[in-house]
Point group: C2
């Protein structure tokens, strides 16, 4: 089928585009390179050296004979997204094209407003473009398990049957998101549900857990196809960050008690889940929700797993409990259903020692690229302004000792951080 991957230059998007292409689907990517720009803004680079999009696509084509179409542009620009939908004529659109970091959204007002305006506007534009130009197309939207928060009841997949005062209804599962970023995804979910209702569009909202890993079969084919691997406190997901910390002998940075339980999945399952969703489209008018993760862990459990795997490689690593920069329960009930993707055929890659070995080996391979000043949390949920971004580079010591000042905290109007374009 023809699948259009929005945000296909990012961590999950790139892996997904290659996987779908390898499986014989015709794939197009759109991206505005925002993710690479945020690295610049924050003075960060991925652990892994990632190539330009032309190099990536040329390599893929040379190796496989498959062409991936690329469209450069921002889905917040309706002219771009509407013409892109008309050009690509997709059967499914996979929408990764959002600002996806909770800490980034919590830096200050500017980043909070940017995250919500960017994500909500992009998704609204996409919904209108589908309604106008491709109403049968299946929208596969990346949500997050973080939309649910940590309620004291079992988390269902999107909807819950509620009995109340002798009556009953199936209603959207109540949401308690934990950052301005997670809130933006909740806003999207409500908007998508409504668009399906009024226009008869069809959508799958994938509430994804925390993704770990970086190597997929496709990415492994060539150095030029390498996926990004983020380990910094803003964009690095927790297990990836722990592995890099272990590789360079830095204590693992556990926030608070570490009893925070979340759903996790291997990036090899991310790409398969996306394909399963695409291959099994909902009926017209349906807004379907899948919880996309394979296992639950507490943060401390992950730290212990990494510590043990590292010890077997003769890496001694300590675990530090830092004051939690987030406002969240450090111990809580957590039990989230995740059976719908399994029913469609997902065979999970559960977290194993060999995967941890592989992650540690990647981290060791690129350890010369590690900037240790990026490990410690600098964005505190309790503050309205956090000195993150270029401003802090001059304090890091071992990188970018330049005199950047105030490049982040500026701007007014619609709240986009300076330089993000319009």
């Amino acid at each position: 089928m023809k699948i259009f991957v929005l945000g296909g230059d990012g961590y999950c998007g790139w892996a997904t585009a290659l996987y779908l292409s390898a499986r014989g689907h015709r794939v197009a990517i759109a991206d505005n390179f925002a993710r690479r720009q945020w690295d610049c803004e924050l003075g960060v680079q991925a652990l892994t050296p990632i190539r330009t999009i032309p190099e990536r696509l040329r390599t893929w084509s040379d190796l496989t004979g498959q062409t991936i179409q690329f469209l450069a542009g921002d889905i917040c620009d309706y002219e771009f997204v509407s013409s892109a939908i008309q050009t690509v004529e997709p059967d499914a659109v996979v929408h990764f094209a959002e600002q996806r970091s909770a800490p980034y959204s919590m830096i200050d007002r500017n980043h909070a407003v940017f995250t919500q305006v960017n994500n909500v506007t992009g998704t609204l534009n996409l919904l209108f473009a589908l309604r106008e130009y491709r109403p049968d197309c299946h929208l596969v939207k990346l949500g997050t398990m973080g939309e649910y928060g940590t309620p004291n009841i079992d988390i269902e997949e999107g909807y819950i049957t509620i009995q109340h005062n002798g009556r009953k209804d199936v209603l959207p599962f109540p949401k308690q998101p934990g950052s301005f970023y997670h809130l933006s995804k909740v806003h999207d979910s409500h908007n998508i549900m409504f668009a399906c209702k009024i226009w008869g569009l069809r959508a799958t909202d994938l509430n994804q857990g925390v993704v770990y890993g970086t190597i997929t079969d496709e990415v492994a084919k060539d150095e030029a196809l390498l996926n990004r691997f983020d380990y910094d406190e803003v964009f690095g997901t927790v297990l990836n960050r722990f592995c890099v910390q272990a590789a360079v002998g830095h204590p693992l940075t556990v926030y608070g008690k570490g009893g925070q339980t979340r759903g996790y999945l291997d990036i090899r399952d991310t790409v398969r889940c996306i394909e399963l969703a695409c291959l099994n489209a909902p009926r017209m008018g349906e807004c379907r929700v899948f919880n996309q993760f394979t296992e639950q862990f507490t943060v401390l459990e992950l730290a212990h797993l990494v510590q043990t795997a590292a010890a077997k490689m003769n890496l001694q690593v300590e675990i530090d409990h830092l004051p939690d920069p987030r406002v969240e329960a450090e111990e809580h009930y957590y039990n989230a259903r995740h059976s719908k993707l399994t029913e469609l055929g997902l065979k999970p890659h559960l977290l194993s020692e060999s995967l941890l070995d592989s992650l540690l080996n990647i981290a060791i391979r690129y350890k010369d690229r590690v900037d240790r000043s990026l490990f410690m949390p600098k964005v505190n949920w309790r503050n309205a302004r956090n000195a993150r971004g270029a401003k802090t580079m001059s304090m890091g010591g071992d990188s970018f000792a330049g005199g950047f000042e105030d490049t982040v905290v500026s701007g007014k109007g619609n709240g986009r951080p300076a330089g993000h374009g319009d």
Copy 2:
């Protein structure tokens, strides 16, 4: 106490500002005149002739000796809202400063994106300004009963206790809003709940029903204080519109079967509810939700009430059932709790014949200002683009026979309709 009314030049905001001033509170207003501008954009004017803000405020001051402070600006501009909070130093901020029409938000993509970006950004800016400069201040935010939709269970006030698989939690009541406008209020509600949690702010989210009436004791003091009375299909609330239709002998425009049940309240109760919320602030960190309405009616019941009241004034009026331009259940279960404001002391003005007489008399008094072409719904929820606004004026016949074209459907970027500023 010192109360800051954002959006104090609008329908509910103006009545509230005067009421609070009359009750001895020190009142400040902020407004960017967006509501007057939307009238221009749509080729509409309120039934009642409304004066400029300087005339309004001068008259109030002359009559009562009370000064209402006025600050002109847009809360989407953080410099404005943050300096305003520092200048006014309010004990409570009453936030009416949003685009509040469901049909306006459904005109096209431009208006949908504008409504959500405007409302979400303004509220986020306000939350950050309170966090930074006035953390003890009580935020009184206008939400809407439309956030809940029409679930098949009783609607609670903001939160519901859910028993599920042997466990129990109190969670936000699930939301099923029915327009891009109503969705914007749901987004706000989630953002406010989160800000109270992470920063310890305190807020009252007032989920208001449909407001009717225009005369309050304060507004009645002088012609120059007259409140706006909207009867057009975009901004006119249903009971007000029916009374104007009856006054000019136009059939009452019931959408579909008319079994749509909603909560309603008299504007004299709106202003009292706001004061009750202000006088009874929640504890720090609490995000409290009140359902602010006094009675439930179906649309058809309201039409019959107006028809009967009109007949006693020798006005014969018919009821037309039009195809419903909205996507909504035309008959459904509806039972919403609304006891918290009553417990705080609200004595409701229930809908009575004398109020209907008063509304009909206002409509008759100003009937020369009525533009009958504004009654019929032109915004259909099922369309991605509706020809509303200046473009349709040339078709109306009896007003503005000019050649405006495409003044509404234009623009790109952040989606604000042309001329709304940034």
